[in-house]
Symmetry: C2
Subunit: 623 residues, 2 copies
């Protein structure tokens, strides 16, 4: 058993090994950046798809919208750099909002992020597997199974620990980064050499349809909101600062810089080349759909080896982008649990120093989503950005409050400006996204966040009440200690009864043997009691009470016993009542069916009685 | 809760009310005779169906075969009369075979009967609902649901008690008996008045096909074997003698006589009129199928009111024939449990003095059969008679052995002859049935019986071993009683800990507080321990041990504790170790998720350790 666990999850890690589980920037990108980087595979396409009804006119707007997103990204980068410096112990949106704006905004950010992470996992896996399946159509019938196997794989990797996840995901991440940057760079050079109008290597499948809608602020806003899905995941680094090796702040900043820089290059390159090559989005619901990125790579390098390498790495990275959710969800749950907003079990570290409960929870929730949507989660994509941008805005606003509190130097003024700009920009974006996505499913998030808030408050309220109730400043007193009264249900005489009786003698001088008579006649039991208990007691000169026989005409066991306990409580008002239950313990589970589980049931019934004066003790006799 | 139980199952019955639950012959027929009587609805048809391939020639053989079955029935009647006299406490096949032929033959009969009863229930309900559905085709899609609802209804009626079942089933039983006997009698009179060749009132739907097979002993044997399904259920009375009011033997014999007499009249009447009216079986798998009995009633009285009353009563009686299984299965299980062949729970009487476990078991098994066969259990009909005739044969042979043992008077010689003839006749019939039904599914019964036998022996073996192991003739000794050593896991100081600590002081003078340190630092706990335990102890001049801190670098709770228990066992070789687990008990089930169930898990882990010297006590603190 232990060996099996070791094989699947890795050996137990001691607390002292935590330092070695920390990561540097090289592993940081796969662990914390996969979500952000992989979103370049769907962000620009999402924006371009919205512009589709504009026809030729729409193509011209992809680049400006992408530039707007890049500007936003730069603002957010500087904003989060400051957060990392200010919160070297992990400046997740929850922490920053809670400390500077108050607990309500903290858990508001937490609720938004938790939902976002679950969506990240489900949509990431679904998108990756969807891309895989459209490349290898023979896998189509197994879509859901592949999704769930991928989920299980990522879950196991994460249960093995953070470092292992970083190492395992490094290869696909860097393959994705370098192949895509290479293709894009090659395309840019070709474009410049061709004077801005390069010829596509492969044929582009779809000529653009004619416009069915006219240009409006509304359609541009919707395209921008869709494109902003490319920005989800950039908060992961500031959230996970504690995962880094010392010096943590330096390593975290390096990682954040690398992630944002690569993301900007990818987004910019894709938008620029899409315009240069005249690549347009195709309708994903129509037959013959091909993703923007696939068309673009084919246009630049043709459908050869490089094309297939790039596409494979995109598939892999999409599937693994779920990992960001796995890295952050459990950590956020732990912080919430520590602050009493979630069950304390989420704050416990498992075999490999990870927060196993959180990992398993997000795995189950994402698995349910995948199962309910049958592995196709396209409808969930619009919901994505809401949680993320709500968290961005709260976090940046929190930072502004943070600087205002310690506003002393000029340095502060710049800091306030940077974070204020971030808050403003992400806040405005959140508004745009909320308005444009509300009817497309955004309302679900808007409805779920209050539900989570109520849950958090209810959990916290319970913990606070319990803590108050059990708090004691009463020292132990020794005067009132007194042996308890023992009640021992008996039926005949056996080793099982003998062991219980011996224990009773060890802890008490007032023992009642009780026989519940359901009509079988009590002669046998009382005869045995006399022979094995009363006679030796008499010989030794000890006083032992007679056996009490409780008649039970309705063949009930518990009611007569409960009545007798009531009597004892009246008779011994100042003593505890110990109910000793002799119990035969069998070796195999199926043998349980052969014995009436009276001991178990009686124990449960006494527990339900919730009588503080009654202590129930099962005296096991092992076969 | 109690009121709901009272409403559904009836109020609790006291042991003293058992006498009033007993029945007379009038209620005895519905309770114990439904199976036998209802089988007249399918027995003759089963025989006629086998003869179908013989064409016109086959019709002539239905009557002789029925006469053979009636002769067998008369033999069995006299045979079982003697059994009732000899075993007024219930002479089921199990009892008779066990006492006279030995335990093996007893449980062989029991296994056969148990299988038979489950089949009776499933096939009875399925046949009744099938007849209902073919009369009201709109119900067709709900076949399985109606079967399961009927099963639930019969189960509830039986859980309410024997007498209630008799009263509830009286109306359909007597409606069936009188309407069918009336129709048959009317037909016989008409036939005699028409000189043996009456004209059918309604048209008979199907002219007979031409012969596809020639007459052979084989086909006659198969027809006879199929017809013998009409005899299943006649052992029920001798089995259930104890259900009758005093004088039990008289009431039981009256009931047996009535059942057999009615059955003979029904079988004889059906066979006679079928020949007189030229009614033949139709292929049940072909469209336009109509049951023999339906054709016959239509031929005699036309398709008017009487026809529909008769058919309804047949439907009702078939559905309720399941009740015989419900009456006998639990009683047989009780006897087997008393003899240690089945779990003892089967021998316990529930709220209404019935053997609830047996009732629920047969309900579940029949429900599974109905579910697996989707409510159509035609394939199970051939399996029916095997168990019944095996039990008949063993029971009659047992009676022969019974008389041989006490062979003294001339009276014995007659008794031996009657039961011997019964054994011979049923034994031969069993052979015919086995041979002719083996490939049609009879092998399943032949295979299942040994499985049940192995189960019976395994259960009995377990009980015998346990009884030997726990048997004790050791009287209680008082010299060696000594207070146990107490181990109390602590974590901070609270009312929960305080209550456990007080209890520890009440039962022991050697207490170890144990803190398992998973790396959170033990300073808080040991400081509290000093303040609330050690300081007051010092003031009182009591000696209390220091708090023991067990380091747990792998964040495990149980391993360090188990290690410490090992140490204690070495240190105190002659004392019991009590592990006191302080436990917070919450009020609502969902609050359990908010607390790490360490108390529960530790209790379970210590139970798994199966260490006879360790007693685990959970000290509950109720919120």
């Amino acid at each position: 058993m232990g060996k099996l666990l070791d094989f699947v999850f890795g050996r137990l890690l001691s607390n002292s090994e935590e330092e070695q589980q920390r990561i540097g920037p090289l592993a940081g990108i796969p662990v914390l950046g996969l979500d952000a980087l992989s979103s370049s595979a769907y962000g620009p396409e999402a924006a371009a798809t919205v512009l589709l009804p504009l026809g030729v006119m729409g193509v011209a707007h992809v680049l400006p919208i992408t530039i707007a997103i890049i500007v936003l990204l730069v603002i957010v980068y500087f904003s989060y750099r400051q957060t990392i410096t200010a919160y070297p112990n992990g400046g997740g949106s929850y922490t920053v909002a809670r400390e500077n704006l108050g607990p309500f905004f903290g858990i508001l950010a937490a609720a938004a992020l938790l939902l976002d992470y679950v969506l990240v996992v489900a949509v990431g896996i679904s998108a990756g597997v969807g891309a895989l399946v459209s490349a290898v159509p023979i896998l189509q019938p197994h879509l859901l199974s592949i999704c769930l196997v991928t989920l299980t794989f990522i879950t196991l990797i994460n249960l093995r620990g953070l470092r292992e996840a970083g190492v395992a995901f490094m290869l696909p991440t860097y393959l994705f980064t370098f192949s895509l940057l290479g293709v894009l760079g090659f395309g840019v050079i070709k474009t410049m050499m061709a004077g801005g109008h390069p010829l596509p290597v492969a044929n582009l499948p779809h000529p653009l349809g004619s416009a069915t809608e006219t240009l409006s602020i509304w359609i541009i806003a919707r395209a921008f909101a869709s494109g902003c899905t490319a920005m989800t995941g950039v908060e992961a680094v500031s959230n996970g600062v504690k995962s880094f090796r010392e010096p943590v702040v330096v390593h975290a900043k390096q990682t954040l810089f690398l992630i944002i820089a690569i993301l900007i290059l990818l987004l910019g390159g894709i938008a620029f080349l899409a315009q240069a090559y005249g690549v347009v989005a195709t309708d994903p619901t129509a037959p013959g759909y091909e993703s923007l990125l696939s068309q673009l790579i084919a246009a630049v390098v043709g459908r050869g080896v490089i094309y297939y390498i790039s596409i494979s790495s995109i598939v892999a990275v999409l599937m693994l982008s779920a990992n960001t959710g796995f890295a952050d969800f459990p950590r956020l749950c732990q912080i919430l649990a520590r602050d009493n907003y979630l069950p304390h079990a989420f704050a416990e570290r498992g075999r490999r120093l990870v927060f196993s409960h959180g990992i398993i929870t997000i795995a189950i929730m994402a698995g349910v989503l995948l199962f309910v949507f049958d592995g196709v989660t396209d409808q969930l994509i619009p919901l994505f950005a809401i949680g993320a941008f709500l968290a961005f805005t709260l976090s940046q606003s929190g930072m502004v409050a943070h600087w205002l509190k310690k506003a002393k130097s000029n340095h502060s003024a710049l800091s306030i400006f940077v974070n204020g700009l971030g808050a403003l920009a992400t806040g405005l974006t959140l508004l745009v996204i909320l308005v444009s996505k509300f009817t497309e499913g955004g309302w679900v998030i808007v409805a779920l966040v209050p539900v989570l808030l109520v849950l958090f408050y209810a959990v916290r309220r319970h913990y606070i009440i319990v803590a108050q109730l059990i708090r004691s400043h009463q020292p132990l007193t020794f005067d009132e200690t007194r042996k308890p009264v023992v009640l021992l249900p008996v039926r005949g005489w056996s080793h099982v009864t003998l062991k219980a009786m011996r224990f009773a003698l060890n802890i008490s001088d007032q023992i009642y043997g009780v026989y519940v008579d359901s009509g079988e006649g009590s002669a046998y039991t009382s005869e045995q009691w006399k022979k094995y208990v009363l006679d030796p007691a008499k010989t030794e000169g000890k006083v032992l009470p007679d056996l009490v026989t409780l008649p039970s005409p309705y063949r009930q066991l518990f009611n007569p016993l409960m009545g007798f306990i009531d009597e004892l409580e009246v008779k011994h008002p100042d003593r505890q009542i110990v109910v000793l239950i002799p119990s035969l313990v069998v070796r195999k589970w199926y043998q349980y069916f052969l014995h009436n589980q009276r001991a178990l049931l009686l124990h449960a019934a006494l527990r339900l009685r919730a009588d503080p004066r009654v202590i129930t003790i099962t005296i096991p006799w092992y076969l």
